[in-house]
Symmetry: C2
Subunit: 199 residues, 2 copies
């Protein structure tokens, strides 16, 4: 069976990709199931840069077709930031709550109509023959003024998807997968992933 | 003598404008020298928005020709932020050191060649006849990795002007005035300020 490496140690992401590719003739491995290699820090200027760099590195180290993603939140009143710095917006030693609270503080004086934001996910598939396929999923919404909900992670508690009355931390995992930036990117990549087994 | 209001309580800015307009037949007043009026918070999306809003408000309240400015630092790796949020980047309760340290933390992984930044100052002159003149001064440079120098304020200790070996907090006030964003904006506005006495 064709093997595919997901360059991630996130068990939820791995399970999701396995679920999506069930029956497609593709065996999905995670980083914990291949020989360790030195992983570079994410220093790209864009989500796409980071995703493709991570996937290239995985191909170079393992010789397997590899998928990697990078995602974050892009806030219009912050000129699209935190962006690629989403996970370390309040500093490297900080956590999800510190990041989220800093964004709320920075937006204190920003009126409701200018609190628009979107979650963004870039996903890259890189093949040993150097073919690169990069897709982007976006999930538009706006930022509420205080955290609500306990599902998800990161900025989910302050993100109100367009057309929703619940924050993304108040959606179930299945509801979120169906509409989220990650779900959208993965669906765009799906035909290319399924084609692997025929290659 | 023609009166001009500088919509600021900053004694240094007031002294600077008086020095520049000495002998031009224009008397410069500060906010502390006119009847108090309610000042709106700065919620504009751009430096220009904030400067012109502040000057319009001053004209409406006093009937005097009014000058106002808004300034901050624009960091390329942060898509131009902190920008209009420069003074409250780490939150409203924070101070210069907290703001500066947060930017340094956010840029930890950013390589030297991508640490470019510029100080920006927008200055607006609004006349009672509704004429509005808005100018912008920029001071390009890059961000060092640790604060140096004790002059100035704000982000001066981490800003290395292009062509300089000293941060802007290591320059004297006179050296800074000659090349800074504020100095540049003020010089662009100068002909219009001097014309006031002939109007």
């Amino acid at each position: 069976m064709t093997q595919l490496l997901l360059a991630s140690r996130n068990a939820k992401k791995l399970a999701e990709l396995r679920r999506i590719l069930a029956g497609a003739g593709v065996e999905v491995l995670g980083l914990d199931e291949v020989a360790p290699y030195p992983e570079s820090p994410e220093t790209g200027a864009t989500f796409e840069d980071n995703a493709v760099a991570k996937a290239r590195e995985a191909v170079a180290a393992t010789g397997l077709p590899s998928v990697a993603d990078d995602s974050g939140i892009s806030v219009d009143a912050l000129n699209g930031m935190p962006g690629v710095l989403s996970a370390r917006w309040a500093g490297r030693a900080k956590n999800d709550a510190a990041n989220l609270n800093l964004v709320l503080e920075q937006l204190t004086d920003i009126p409701d109509e200018r609190r628009t934001a979107r979650f963004v996910c870039a996903t890259a598939l890189v093949l040993p023959d150097t073919t690169e396929i990069i897709v982007r999923g976006e999930w538009p919404g706006s930022l509420v003024r205080g955290p609500r909900g306990t599902n998800g992670f990161g900025y989910d508690p302050i993100f109100l998807p367009d057309g929703e009355t619940r924050t993304s931390a108040e959606l179930t995992a299945a509801e979120k997968d169906a509409v989220s930036h990650r779900g959208r990117a993965l669906r765009l990549l799906l035909p290319h992933l399924k084609a692997l087994s025929h290659a």
